[in-house]
Structure formats: structure tokens, C-alpha cells
């Protein structure tokens, strides 16, 4: 009886000592089995010699995140918040107009000093009060404080036409100035006001940009 079934295990050194000894004894006397053994060994060697294919890309899953990811995400969030704050502050300080009719409205002001002026100044006040309600006293309009008694009187007649009237000393004062100095009124509507660095819109764009970056990084962190 040839121990054919044991020959492979013999090659792989997977036989217990007793079985191994038995096979060796048999091999000593059996040429057929020696031949078979050689063939099996040769086959195993050929299999081992097969060319090894390599993958075309890395197959390691990305389960870790780069060390800089979380800190940059935090910084981006803070930068976005800071830029947003600067946008709001900058916009408030520069008395941001949300419509483009403000300049032409102020220009005709010197032409109609009495009747026309209150109407146009109402328009200006209307647009300006949206944002400048709280900041107008400090808006640097070059408002002369001596004009305050007059705005009081004007305000009472124009409450229905203005959205918010509290603290709107500036627009009536602008009307006052418009009535006296035409070119001055024109220049007043042009932003000669102090601004916080570049135009407010720049800060808004930065805020959105940093915010988007923080969002993308946060997603990447979550995905890991």
C-alpha cells in the first residue's frame, strides 16, 4: 500500500513523528513513491514561483485622519465667525445702503430746500434707518449737534413716513446740511465714512469661504 495521501503532508512537514517515520521507511524501498514525491515537490515549487500580481492602487482603507485636520477645522470655524462679525460691524459702521437710490435722492435735496427736502430726506432716512438706527449718532456724518432741536420738530411730522424714528438725528441733519450746502450733501451720501478695512462684502465672502472650509473638514472628520 502506497501512502500517496500522505506524500503532500510529508512535503509540508505536517505529519506527526510516527506517520512521518512510516512514510520515510516506505520511501526507502519504493521507487514509485519517490518519483511521485519528486513530482509533488516540483509542483509545489512551481506554484510558489508563479508571478505575483500587484494591485494598481493602494487598497488600504483610509481610516485615519491627518493630524492637522481637526485643528484647521477649528481655526476655519473661528475665522468664519470672526469674518462674519467683521462683516456686520463693518457694514453697520459704513451705513450700508441696501438700495442704490440713496445718492440720487440726496442730490435733488439742495434744489428743493423746504418742501422737497423733507420728502427726499424722508427717503434717505427711510433707507438709512434700516441699519443706521443705532449707529447714526456715531456715523461721522459731521452732524452738528446744534441741529438737534430742529430734527425733533421734523420728526413729529414725518413719523408716518419713516420706518424707525428713534435716534435718527442724522438724516434730518443731512437734510439741514443739504439745504445749505449742495455739494456737501452729495459727498455725504458717497461713502466717505470710516470703514473697517476693505468693503464689508469682502468680510462676508471670507466668512462664507471659511465656513465652507470648516464644513468640508468636519465632514471628513465625521466620515473617518
Amino acid at each position: 500500500m502506497h501512502p500517496f495521501a500522505e506524500l503532500s503532508a510529508y512535503i509540508d512537514d505536517a505529519l506527526d513523528p510516527t506517520a512521518k517515520a512510516a512514510v520515510e521507511t516506505h520511501l526507502h524501498d519504493c521507487a514509485v513513491c519517490r518519483t511521485r514525491l519528486g513530482e509533488l515537490r516540483g509542483t509545489a515549487r512551481l506554484i510558489a514561483a508563479l508571478p505575483a500580481a500587484v494591485p494598481s492602487r493602494s487598497l488600504v482603507p483610509r481610516v485615519s485622519v491627518p493630524l492637522w485636520l481637526a485643528p484647521i477645522r477649528t481655526l476655519a470655524t473661528l475665522a468664519s465667525a470672526a469674518a462674519l462679525f467683521l462683516f456686520v460691524a463693518s457694514a453697520a459702521l459704513s451705513g450700508l445702503r441696501f438700495s442704490t437710490g440713496a445718492a440720487p435722492a440726496a442730490a435733488p435735496a439742495p434744489i428743493a430746500p423746504n418742501a422737497g427736502a423733507p420728502a427726499t430726506s424722508v427717503g434717505a432716512a427711510d433707507r438709512g434707518t434700516g441699519l443706521s438706527a443705532s449707529a447714526s449718532p456715531a456715523a461721522g456724518f459731521a452732524v452738528n449737534p446744534s441741529a438737534s432741536p430742529v430734527p425733533e420738530a421734523q420728526r413729529s411730522t414725518q413719523t408716518d413716513a419713516t420706518k424707525t424714528v428713534t435716534g435718527t438725528a442724522a438724516p434730518p441733519a443731512a437734510r439741514e446740511d443739504a439745504a445749505t450746502t449742495g455739494p456737501a450733501a452729495r459727498t455725504l451720501s458717497v461713502p466717505e465714512r470710516p470703514q473697517l478695512g476693505p468693503s464689508p462684502w469682502v468680510w462676508l465672502v471670507l466668512a462664507v469661504g471659511f465656513g465652507a472650509l470648516a464644513l468640508v473638514l468636519q465632514r471628513r472628520l465625521r466620515a473617518a
Partner: protein, 197 residues
Amino acid sequence: MKAAASEANALLVQKARQGDARAFEQLARDVERPLYRLAVRMVGQVDAEDVVQDALLAAWRSLSSFEGSSFRAWIFRIATNRALDRLRSRRRHPELPLDPPAEEDDDRSWAEPAAPGPELADLAADREALVVVEEALTTLPAEQRAALLLRDIEGFAYEEIAIITAVEIGTVKSRIHRGRLAVRNALVARGWKGSAG
């Protein structure tokens, strides 16, 4: 040298089990190519990358359940299972047995050489023989092929292969022998004289 390497490896495994993603990635890089060459011979080049990537991801997710001593055997087990699953899903009738029924192992299973061909004593280095071997491997039943590749290419011991394929050692022994025999027969049929033992 080998002891130091396996110690470093054990440290990586420990870190990875604790959730260290970088340690796991390092372990994965070390087994990436061996896993791939097994997968290629099991499922072919088209699906091999998918199989390996799935296996590595599954390994990362189930690291907490790794208890044995050999990380390599464990990850090969995951990959081999995925490869076999992929093969099963390709067949239309998954109930077909992957192993042929047990047969008597007598002289009839040893193919005799065809008409005496040219001397091919140095076939070990000959590409033609390797092509024959490659072809023969693809005709093997999947589980025989897996056992044979794990033994002859990856060098796993029979005990490890038993763990990887979740069968008894006797089954491993039988599969390896049958697989090798089939490849040997294919070679002999093409005129191979067998290299000197």
C-alpha cells in the same frame, strides 16, 4: 531580526485593537500585497481589488473581535471568505458543492505522461510550465485552490489553514493533496517529467 519584527507587529496589533487607525493602516499595508495575490488567483484580476479592500475594511470594523494570536491568519480568513463568497455569488446554483465527492486515492488518479515529449528538466524556470500551472489552478474547486495557495504561496502551516478556512486539519490535508495532484497531472499531460525531488 524576525523576532524583533514580530514583536513590533504584535505592538501594532495591540494598538490597532485599541482603535489606533494609523497602526491598523500600517498592518494593512504589510498584508495588502499577499492578500491581493491570493485574491487574484481566487477571483481573477477584475474583482481582486474589491475583495481585498472590502476585507481590510471589514477587518478594521471587527478588530475588537480579533482574539487569536495570528493577525495574519485572521485577516487572511476574512479575505478568503470574501473571495469564496464572491465565487459563490457568481454561480447560478449556489448549492453546488465546492468540493468534489471523496474518491479513492489510488494509482488511477495519477495521470501518466502523454507520448514522451522533449526533455523539460528545467521546467521550473520555464514560463510554459507556469502557464500550465496557472491554468490548472483555475480549474480546481475553489476550496482546494484556496488551501493550496495558502500553503504553497503564502506558506501557512496546516493548522493555520484549518483556522483560515474553518475546517479540520484532515480536510486541509486532503484538499492540498488533491489540489497538488490535479496540477501535477496537468503538467504531466503536457510532457512534464517532474523535477528532481
